[in-house]
Assembly symmetry: none
Homo-oligomer: 539 residues x 2
């Protein structure tokens, strides 16, 4: 009846993937990697299966010199080749006499990537040398490094701006490098201002003008880094640079995992060695643990929300036919489909959510009905279970078992903050909780740098003798939202808390007329859930 | 010497910008907007200058029904037309008899956007009706709404997947809508799986097959939402949908500000009414304060890092010749170049903001310098003045006059919350403040439904005898953001408070290790500012 339309495809190709997380990615605001961090990230990048790992600029940055020294001894790379990044020799010098170039050789990296000016304005105004001397520096440096037995890659800095301003000069810089023996000339959109149509036009033109392999290095200043990388490949580039999680200066570099996933899963192009793409969600998150930059939930393919569905309307259809609502199978990138329990939720999405938590509700319409009612009523009060799986699971288990485990009961609690003047250093917060466990009554006071922190400390201290499992628990995230803001401080407050036991983390929610009460509810849920998931019995 | 290369340009065009932050954007994980939030965002969107604001789905979502009712009375839109989103009539019904369609008419929105299936598989498997009946539903619903005097927009859901599977059917759905009188047929990449080259191919083909205006609705699942929107425009679409900050389900929708900035600044295409693009950084941040979703620093154009340069080697070159290192002048989007190591920011925008507040700093470089330093230091601590003009004005006046008016001094304050059991109705909050005015010492205790509310009451009661002006003041909004979420409740808290005197409203900010302290600072600022703007002298 119907005919599938075939769209243009890149077909049988192999693209080199060049990662610069450790060099250009490290330019990101707030990122500060130690040598140990860099070694750990390099191992993960190798697991991903990239072809090249650019480690840094030995000679210019002492930490990077050390990285290459230790990498040679400590790293056992299966797939990737290590690349040292540096500059051409200086104007008026030979590569042999330029200490910066010698440091690249001394790094013992098998690949050396040389950045060179290809925009005549940068040659004249930033480098303050002549057009001819810049070409001489490129030729001599590439030739010298080839003589030292290195694979040489040329990064043509500001290439696209240079091309627009003076096409002939930009092309001559690329030609000089390729003729001197560079393996590939990488066209860099250093300012990130390009759009995909323009990248395509320019790369296609360069292809007809020079003889050799071309690469692309894109930044995300127009929100098009991924698309610009694809446009370059479509126009003939065979080498793609980028960073994991799109780290980088300003708006970041092209997100390498997204580029690779698009090339592999959409175009069927071979990019990575091994089966790394299927591990890419885990690897991306592991790298963000090392960089200590919070993962971006909306990140394509690997983000926590990338396959999360909220619309209640579609839940029943998704259950039957997930392929109708997902552009790829999330397993291909090691991610998971998730159903969000939201105000638009119906029974179908709650059943699906239960299945995700390993609880089959399909034969229990009574439980499903009660849970749906409770979730709806709770959401009307301001609760949200989108981001509080643990609280949702407590509701679900309570309706399933008829009760929740009574690890402790609360007699009372109080929290207090006081300041003796406007001087913040004199502010004190203190909280007291009175609880009962099977082993008797406990009264405990905690201090903290705020009332919630003090309550958290008091609650843990009160329970840790009876439940030593609590020693592993740590509160790792805390979010507050004021609902119905028309009434100022009379409004309802919602608190979301994330707790970790070092291996897993879970989120709980609390709602109340004030932040302290809402936090208390979320804190109690987080302790109960943490004990429950370890199968601890009430003591 | 050199010849500038001209790249392809879209030339003289006008593109309709359709914002769906309040409908599709609200599908984002963790987002939960109140009616008041939606009204506030709609005003900001109108300031940005978009052509359409899609407000929600009246009839299906009670909050959205209320939004349209209140919008008709409370919103005074200068540029945008309000659009109600809904579905075609159900299979086997007429639009007139379908309560969902009637609710769209009852919303009184001048524009109605109808989502319809254009993928035959969705018609058969999700809608469970026939190909012909689906086309009948589209035709009848569009025609009915046109008869009711509405502008009708068709969102062709899953259009691209539908086209690939069965081109003829997808085209017939679009044709049915346009022939029945729809103003524009929007081709939706609902699953977000498209790449720009494919979007271009398909939109170009549709252009040749149907007669009427086409639009694009893109999601970011391949990291190409912006590029896909541009590709559609290049192929002939004249209507672009998206959301501010790229909010939306999964990986989000096309980021409208990025799309618009690319079209306006790169292609010279007219998209927004007025001069909204130059305000887009402020508007984007203001909207993220309302959604309470942390702004993404690497966001193109408007992100905090978008024009941040790690100084190093190029610092002086950047200062002399910023155009060599920036793809656009950040002023065009109301952003600023920032140097991350060397100091070089702010003065121009602070001067501008001063002018906005009626304070001319152009002849006072000393004050400008001191304010810039204070703002920078405060922002490093977590303060934000984007959304706290009153606190900023207090800083500015303090530096201008050398002091701030001493309406009162604080001896001490304390706040306390306690619960006698888990029963929320037994929770009590109480606060005591000890202040000095020119008329002596005051000790006052306030109660409230939370510690901040209690402090607010205590502070007003303590001062109202001396400053009866306070009787008019009311706290109307209260927002909390936890900064540096890595450390849980040990993190820094930022509070934004909005106060009204019935005529004007003003916003103040406080930052501290806990919410109570941060709130206290913002409360004190709000009282001081309120008295100052009424020209009250200290008593």
């Amino acid at each position: 009846m119907s005919t599938t339309t075939r769209l243009s495809s890149l077909g049988e190709l192999t693209i080199d993937v060049y990662d610069t997380t450790l060099r250009d990615g490290a330019q990101q605001e707030g990122m500060n990697l130690s040598v140990a961090d860099k070694l750990a990230i390099a191992s993960l990048l190798d697991e991903l299966g990239v072809g090249y790992i650019e480690g840094g600029w030995p000679g210019a940055i002492p930490k990077d010199t050390e990285f290459f020294a230790r990498a040679a001894k400590e790293l056992d790379l299966r797939h990737a080749r290590l690349a040292a990044f540096g500059s051409t020799c200086k104007a008026g010098t030979t590569p042999h006499d330029d200490p910066q170039v010698r440091a690249l050789v001394d790094s013992e990296a098998p690949v050396v990537t040389i950045v060179a000016k290809s925009d005549i304005r940068h040659v004249e105004r930033a480098l303050r040398t002549s057009a001819e001397e810049n070409l001489r520096m490129i030729t001599d440096t590439v030739r010298y490094l080839r003589e030292q037995g290195r694979e040489v890659i040329l990064d043509a800095e500001h290439f696209f701006d240079g091309y627009r301003f003076d096409r002939g000069y930009a092309l001559s810089a690329v030609t000089a490098a390729l003729e001197a023996g560079a393996e590939v000339a990488v066209l860099c959109d250093t300012n990130g201002g390009m759009l995909p149509g323009w990248v395509h036009e320019i790369v296609a033109d360069v292809r007809t003008q020079v003889d050799g392999r071309l690469g692309i290095h894109a930044h995300n200043d127009t929100g098009c880094a991924v698309a610009n990388s694809l446009a370059a490949v479509e126009a003939g580039a065979r080498h793609v640079q980028g960073t994991v999680n799109g780290y980088g200066e300003r708006t970041g570099n092209a997100d390498l995992v997204t580029v690779v996933a698009n090339l592999e899963l959409k175009h069927g192009v071979r990019t990575l060695a091994g089966d790394g793409l299927r591990e890419s969600s885990r690897l991306s998150h592991a790298i963000s643990e090392i960089t200590n930059i919070s993962p971006y939930g909306r990140q394509p393919y690997v983000g926590a929300s990338a396959f999360a569905h909220k619309a209640g309307l579609h839940a029943s259809a998704i259950r039957v036919d997930p392929d109708l609502y997902q552009h790829i199978d999330p397993v291909a990138v090691g991610n998971d489909m998730r159903m969000l329990v939201s105000e638009m939720a119906g029974r179908a999405s709650i059943e699906l959510k239960g299945r995700e938590l390993g609880i089959d509700l399909s034969g229990r319409p009574d439980v499903l009905g009660r849970v749906t009612e409770r979730v709806k009523a709770a959401e009307a009060q301001g609760y949200t279970f989108d981001a509080a799986d643990a609280s949702f699971e407590l509701v679900l288990r309570e309706e399933l078992d008829g009760t929740r485990p009574r690890y402790f009961t609360v007699e009372s609690w109080r929290a207090m903050v006081q300041t003796l003047s406007q001087d913040i250093s004199l502010t004190q917060a203190e909280a007291t909780v009175k609880l009962h466990t099977g082993r008797g009554r406990v009264v405990c006071t905690g201090e903290g740098n705020g009332p919630v922190n003090a309550l958290d400390h008091a609650l843990r201290q009160a329970l840790v003798d009876v439940y030593p499992e609590l020693e592993d628990f740590e509160l790792i995230d805390f979010k507050v939202r004021i609902l119905d803001t028309q009434s100022g401080t009379d409004a309802t407050t919602r608190v979301l808390i994330e707790t970790s036991d070092g291996v897993h983390s879970w989120s709980t929610v609390g709602v109340g007329p004030d932040i302290i009460e809402a936090s208390w509810e979320a804190l109690v849920d987080s302790v109960v859930y943490g004990l429950l998931r370890r199968d601890v019995s009430p003591r």
